[in-house]
């Protein structure tokens, strides 16, 4: 198609040349120049007419030749298109070809039951996430995730990935969720429950977890027994947990992941994480987080769309520096999940966590979760949650429900 464009200016020039000629002729016919006889003028006009005629013929043949060439070219192109074994569908316009993959995910959450602090609203469009993902150039790809909440718009993540740097260093630069533990890296819509566990709320970053602007480098550690990946990250120090008082007070995250298949259906996934940085409580107060996680998965390949089982536990310790000395807190959760039909999954979660700023206060909870997935692109989920808050006399019983729905580009399945 692009070559046709090359032809057009040539044709256009030829045509405008033809149009310009009669104008020259009219000027010549308007009157004889001073100092020339009538007969010589008549001769010159005749001469000009002949020249014009020959020029016209010349242009006519040239245009005919060009038209023939154009026709032949178009024919060849049509033929080539017809011969192509499996043409890709035509994009609506050339400018759209390089548009990123776009998706929008709605996350609607409802809640019922008494809750001391108010808890989640009764009916809430918790967030809409927009994602834009594409390859940047031969060296990188970029991913943007923008969340639109009831009162705020935020860049949940936005980073460039260099997948093929020398030394096997998978490098990301931008705003990212910290590689701390298993759940922290996941967006709300990929979690297997509606809320985040108490340990996330109390110790590792609150409702949204840890996310910051920085640089991440991950490398595989070669060995013959298992998948071993080490990740190192440097952040600005601007998250729920880490707040840098000065420019030099960066926050650091280290993560080690070990994975091994135990046969084709079963695998184990172990991780250890550390995060360190200033917490902004005083000039030089710092917070250190330690985490361990373990996951056991079972999914028989022949029945992979009908059943799976997952057991996961995560523990996190925090040491928060304050003016009065460090505060130590610990928390964790355990989660079991079983898919009992193609569209149904049941889950059970146990929560137990101290509060980072008040280690004496320990919250406990349990949840039962039922998920129904009509298709890959939507789900309906209910969660019964019973929580014993350290500073509330009686346990709190709540029922949460969620509608998740995605449109647009087909994303990768989470693992």
């Amino acid at each position: 198609m692009r070559c046709c464009v090359c032809f057009v200016p040539g044709l256009f020039l030829a045509a405008s040349g033809v149009l310009a000629l009669p104008a020259a002729v009219t000027a010549a016919e308007q009157g004889p120049p001073v100092g020339t006889t009538a007969s010589s003028v008549g001769d010159e006009v005749g001469e000009l007419r002949r020249e014009l005629e020959s020029l016209r013929q010349d242009y006519a043949t040239r245009i005919a030749a060009l038209e023939a060439r154009l026709l032949a070219f178009e024919g060849a192109q049509a033929q080539a298109a017809a011969l192509a074994p499996s043409p890709a569908p035509q994009a609506a316009g050339a400018s759209k070809i390089f548009n990123p993959d776009i998706a929008a995910i709605g996350n609607f959450v409802g809640a019922a039951g008494q809750s001391p602090g108010g808890g989640e609203p009764s009916l809430n469009m918790q967030e809409a996430e927009l994602s834009f993902q594409a390859v940047v150039d031969p060296y990188a790809r970029a991913d943007f995730f923008v969340t639109l909440g009831p009162d705020e718009v935020a860049l949940e993540e936005g980073y460039i990935t260099f997948p093929t740097l020398p030394g096997g260093l998978l490098t990301k630069v931008g705003k990212m969720r910290d590689a701390f533990g298993k759940l922290n890296g996941q967006h709300a819509h990929t979690l297997p429950f509606i809320d985040r566990p108490l340990v996330t709320q109390n110790i590792t970053g609150g409702e949204d977890g840890l996310a910051d602007a920085g640089i991440s480098v991950a490398r595989l550690i070669p060995n013959s027994w298992l998948f071993l990946e080490a990740t190192g990250q440097v952040y600005q120090g601007n998250s729920e947990v880490f707040k840098a008082p000065t420019r030099g007070d960066l926050a650091y995250v280290g993560h080690l992941r070990a994975y091994r298949d135990l046969g084709e259906s079963t695998n184990v996934d172990l991780g250890g994480s550390i995060a360190y940085g200033h917490n902004g409580v005083t000039e030089d107060a710092t917070t250190r987080l330690l985490g361990v996680d373990a996951t056991l998965r079972w999914k028989p390949l022949r029945r992979s769309i009908y059943t799976h089982f997952l057991a996961r536990g995560e523990l996190a310790w925090s040491r928060t520096g304050t003016a009065d000395g460090p505060l130590d807190a610990v928390g964790g959760y355990g989660y079991l999940e079983y898919q009992f039909a193609r569209r149904f999954t049941a889950g059970l979660r146990y929560d137990n966590s101290e509060r980072a700023e008040a280690p004496g206060l320990r919250d406990k909870g349990g949840s039962f979760i039922l998920t129904f997935k009509p298709s890959e692109f939507s789900l309906v989920r209910a969660q019964y949650r019973r929580t014993s808050f350290a500073d509330v006399d009686s346990p709190v019983n709540e029922l949460l429900f969620q509608f998740l729905f995605a449109i647009g580009a087909h994303g990768a399945h989470p693992f």
Binding site: P163, T164, F227, R257, E264, S375, H413
Partner: protein, 305 residues
């Protein structure tokens, strides 16, 4: 000293000129076998998915990242069949050779004959439709040959010293496949136009090639599990058109197909869409031998027409 240099020379001579065998990863066992047919002992091939597994829902396990990290060539089915799991694996492989668009990435669908390419607006109301056409194209032996040819071209460019070896292996495969096709055509000749029902839309290339007429699917829409209303409609339609054959992929539940079979008298056949679907299906030609053998035996027993 001289002994050592002779030993070194002998060692060098014993190494094939193009170096060690090419490390190839294929996304399915079908592509792995087609690569083996052409590459012989000059390639080392591994498959990510197993033949008895639903290729739409393979898990992106980190152990696959390790395989991809070492690969010199990745052969993929394409047409978005692997969209849920291959892109994150390739991205995390840290392997520049096999990134999409690089020399070591072969989309096997590019030279294949693809059916069901949408010509009108599609939406997910139609289920999990594949916008680039039906990706189960390897179930036409003609496409197997085209893919093998694409693999031949790719391997010959990557290991020019072995090009003649690859070419002779391809020629041999082409000949054996041609002979098998004659056998299969003869086997299926009496049953041209036979009406069948399949579970998922996995078989358009197969049924097109062997002259079967698919009148319905157990899934109401691609990727959507059977619903009672659709199943009742399908039973009515099968009775009306006297359909006696129901093809099911090995990774789907047999409950609904069996109840349809009881209602209509149709035979439920667990047909294999891929090499490795059963232990004895070790290569591409055996896959068709198995499926067509199963099909013809069932047609004869049920007296289907």
């Amino acid at each position: 000293m001289s002994l050592l240099s002779i030993a070194t020379l002998a060692l060098l001579a014993s190494v094939p000129p193009a170096g060690a065998a090419l490390n190839v990863v294929a996304s399915t066992e079908d592509l792995a076998d087609l690569t083996r047919q052409v590459g012989g002992d000059r390639v080392k091939v591994e498959s990510i998915s197993r033949g008895y597994q639903d290729p739409h829902y393979v898990e992106a396990k980190p152990s696959f990242i390790l395989k991809l990290a070492k690969a010199e060539l990745l052969v993929a089915v394409g047409r978005e069949l692997e969209i849920g799991w291959l892109p994150p694996l390739v991205q995390q492989s840290r392997n520049a050779r096999i990134q999409v668009g690089a020399d070591g990435y072969l989309d096997a669908s590019l030279t294949a004959r693809i059916l069901e390419i949408p010509t009108t607006q599609i939406t997910r109301a139609m289920g999990d439709v594949h916008p680039l056409g039906n990706p189960h194209y390897w179930l036409d032996p003609g496409n197997g040959r085209r893919v093998a040819k694409a693999i031949l071209d790719k391997l010959s460019r990557m290991a020019p010293a072995d090009a003649a070896y690859f070419a002779s292996r391809y020629a041999d495969f082409d000949r054996r496949l041609g002979e098998a096709e004659k056998r299969w055509d003869a086997l299926m000749a009496p049953y041209k136009g036979l009406k069948v029902v399949t579970y998922h839309r996995s078989w358009p290339n197969f049924t097109d090639r062997f002259g079967l007429d698919v009148i319905g699917y157990v899934e109401p829409r691609p990727g959507i599990p059977p619903s009672p209303g659709h199943t009742i409609d399908l039973i009515g339609e099968m009775k009306r058109q006297n359909v006696k054959i129901l093809l099911v992929e090995p990774y789907f539940d047999l409950k609904t197909p069996h109840s349809i079979g009881r209602e209509t008298g149709a035979r439920v056949l667990v047909m294999l869409p891929s090499v490795g679907g059963e232990k004895e299906i070790t290569d591409y030609i055996k896959l068709f031998d198995y499926d067509l053998g199963l099909l013809v035996a069932a047609i004869r027993e049920t007296g289907a027409k």
